[in-house]
């Protein structure tokens, strides 16, 4: 299964806007996507609660895995891009 390790770029960690974007994209992809700390238990990336409960902070390395299938690589690239981008630059106080 295609997977990739990405460093969390948003200073709030995987929370608020970055978490919403990730979960929305994972749910919209229609394929099974998981996310978790490298070597640790991965959770359903389409579950806001599971993603929040990881309590991921800025700078942590996360492994994203997408189930084999058509477009899996594109989905993986999208999710990796969301995690690897700082989404709270425009509003540091949110």
């Amino acid at each position: 299964m295609p997977s990739q390790v990405v460093k969390v770029a948003s200073s709030v960690g995987l929370h608020a806007r970055p978490a919403s974007l990730l979960v929305k994209a994972a749910a919209a992809s229609g394929v099974s996507c998981t996310i978790g700390r490298v070597g640790d238990k991965a959770v359903n990336a389409a579950s806001m609660l599971m993603v929040l409960a990881l309590g991921v902070k800025f700078g942590e390395d996360l492994e994203i895995t997408v189930a084999e299938g058509d477009g899996a690589d594109a989905v993986l690239a999208t999710l990796a891009d969301i995690v690897g981008t700082n989404h709270d630059e425009e509003n540091p106080h949110a």
Partner: protein, 547 residues
């Protein structure tokens, strides 16, 4: 016509239609099946999503969208399905619903910081789901016409979700003068009445008049009543508008009128409102949402913007007041039994953190670059030793005016020794009230105790003020108390030399103080000190000031 009495926390008089917001908490058994629970959850999610689309304020949309995503979460569906067997009618599905949320609730709570803030969303979604099954739905939250918002209590999530442009006034059954509702209303400049227990009886569609200065809500008011209240309010506003320039009493005794600010935009409003400076610049905002400490350069940039907005005026900055109700992720790492009494404010230096030193360095640097009259004070000081420690560190960076917050009973009782170590003091009346009364200011059930008018609080202030006068140290007030014109007169009478408040409150306090002389301020302060309760103090002072 019938009158409902509460606490007026934001002045103004309006007449409008009630928009009732209800948080339905179902207190009886709710029978149902697994499928009914899942359907209800889906309905709640769909409803939140519709509201998110309809909301035209960015923040509201984000809060509602996040809530919708939680309600539609597959993990929640799984948790519920695991607890309820298909095709069984349960006599009460509430425990299973609460249990399904409990695991996530505990996980988020233990993460702290803003992960823990989501706990409130979970509770709200669980309540809504139960209400949906039992058919007791919460009222719609979207405002489409100007309305008087009436609720049991308004949470930050509520106010974020409401389109406040349509809010004519806020009336809540719970809460006190420092509650979230009061702060939001003053920020918007709309009337608000809190602690109005009888507001429970108001329903959507009722016509009410709200007088946010006098804490009165009138149901079906007649024209004469509305006219009376509006005329009185207009007269008070006219008096406020008639006086400009630096704050002074009618006998020309100066009273420094300053503004509280927490951001650059607040500093700009303060300058526009004619503030003589910033009496309390809260520095938490820059730190609260951070996982790591902002760099000295980042801090210098922010402080420079604030100082520039208030160019030529004094700016009093409070060093980072992290902890208690304002936890900072990278500092407040230990879960405390009793955070209001824990390691907060200056006490964080006990952890050996250099955060305060770097903040002092950034403040001194920004002040030097902008030629600002910088005053810096430390929060949560108890003892002369802490005051001396702070003063030494701040002076090392060349900060000329160093002070402390007087917000603990210890600091007030030892004011002669604490103030001797520094150049000035500032009474943080919100926390001082909470600590003197040993009553949590966030607990609405105790709002009668968390009133800064209480003679116990005023006596603590009197002790600090007397010592400040003897030592010739300027002593300010930077809590909500300063924004109440009558209480402002009492504080001046006790010996307070500056008052710092929300910028919207400045004109009114300035206008009122211009009508009283020093002798009257001293008279009302003695009357207030001799009272037995906050209500009595208020009534007796009011009888003298507005006969």
């Amino acid at each position: 016509m019938s009158s409902l009495i509460g606490i007026g926390v934001s002045p103004g008089v309006v007449v409008g239609e009630v928009h009732r917001i209800r948080h339905t908490v179902v207190e009886h058994d709710v029978p149902g099946t697994c499928q009914q629970v899942l359907d209800a959850l889906a309905a709640v999610g769909a409803d939140l999503e519709r509201r998110a689309i309809a909301a035209d304020i960015e923040v509201a949309r984000e809060v509602l969208q996040a809530q919708a995503m939680i309600a539609q979460d597959p993990a929640l569906v799984e948790a519920i399905s695991a607890r309820l067997t298909d095709d069984v009618v349960y006599p009460d599905v509430r425990p299973a619903i609460r249990d399904s949320f409990a695991g996530f609730r505990a996980a988020l709570e233990s993460l702290g910081g803003y992960f823990a803030e989501r706990v409130h969303d979970l509770d709200e979604i669980a309540d809504r789901t139960i209400a949906e099954i039992s058919g007791e739905k919460s009222g719609p939250v979207i405002l489409s016409a100007p309305s008087v918002i009436v609720a049991d209590d308004l949470t930050p999530a509520d106010t974020a979700a409401l389109d406040m442009r349509f809010a004519l006034a806020l009336v809540v059954a719970k809460g006190g003068p420092t509650s979230h509702t009061a702060i939001v209303a003053r920020g918007l400049g709309i009337p608000a009445v809190v602690g109005c227990g009888e507001a429970e009886s108001l329903e959507s569609g009722d016509i009410v008049m709200v007088d946010g200065r006098h804490g009165l809500v009138e149901r079906n008011p007649d024209e004469a009543t509305v006219l009376h209240h509006k005329t009185r309010e207009d007269a008070l506003r006219a008096r406020a508008a008639a006086v400009t320039g630096p704050g002074r009493l009618s006998d020309s005794t100066p009273v420094n009128l300053l503004a509280n600010a927490g951001s650059v935009s607040d500093a700009v409003s303060a300058a526009n409102a004619g503030a003589e400076g910033i009496g309390l610049f809260r520095t938490e905002l820059l730190f609260l949402s951070r996982e790591t400490e902002p760099t000295v350069d980042e801090q210098v940039a922010l402080y420079t913007d604030v100082f520039t907005a208030m160019a030529g005026h004094k700016v009093v900055v409070r060093t980072l007041d992290a902890g208690s109700d304002k936890p900072v992720p990278f500092l407040n790492t230990v879960a405390e039994e009793n955070p209001a009494l824990g390691v907060r404010g200056w006490r964080l230096t006990r952890n050996g953190t250099g955060v305060m030193r770097r903040q002092l360095q950034a403040l001194a640097q920004a002040a030097a670059e902008t030629h600002t009259d910088l005053w810096v004070m430390a929060p949560m000081i108890d003892t002369p030793a802490e005051a001396a420690d702070f003063a030494a560190q701040a002076r090392e960076f060349g900060i000329r005016h160093v002070g402390v917050m007087i917000e603990t009973p210890a600091a007030a009782l030892l004011a002669d020794k604490v103030l001797a170590e520094v150049d000035f003091g500032s009474l943080g009346t919100n926390d001082l009230t909470q600590y003197v009364m040993a009553a949590d200011r966030l607990d609405a059930r105790l709002s009668d105790l968390t009133d800064s008018w209480h003679p116990a609080v005023l006596r603590a202030i009197a002790l600090a003020a007397t010592n400040a006068t003897t030592l010739a140290r300027p002593l300010g007030v930077c809590g909500e108390a300063a924004a109440d014109p009558h209480l402002a007169a009492v504080l001046v009478g006790l010996g307070v030399t500056s008052l710092s408040m929300a910028p919207v409150a400045l004109a009114e306090v300035r206008g009122f103080l211009a009508t009283v002389d020093r002798a009257t301020c001293i008279e009302v302060s003695q009357v207030a000190l001799a009272a037995s309760s906050a209500e009595e103090a208020k009534a007796m002072v009011s009888a003298i000031l507005e006969p």
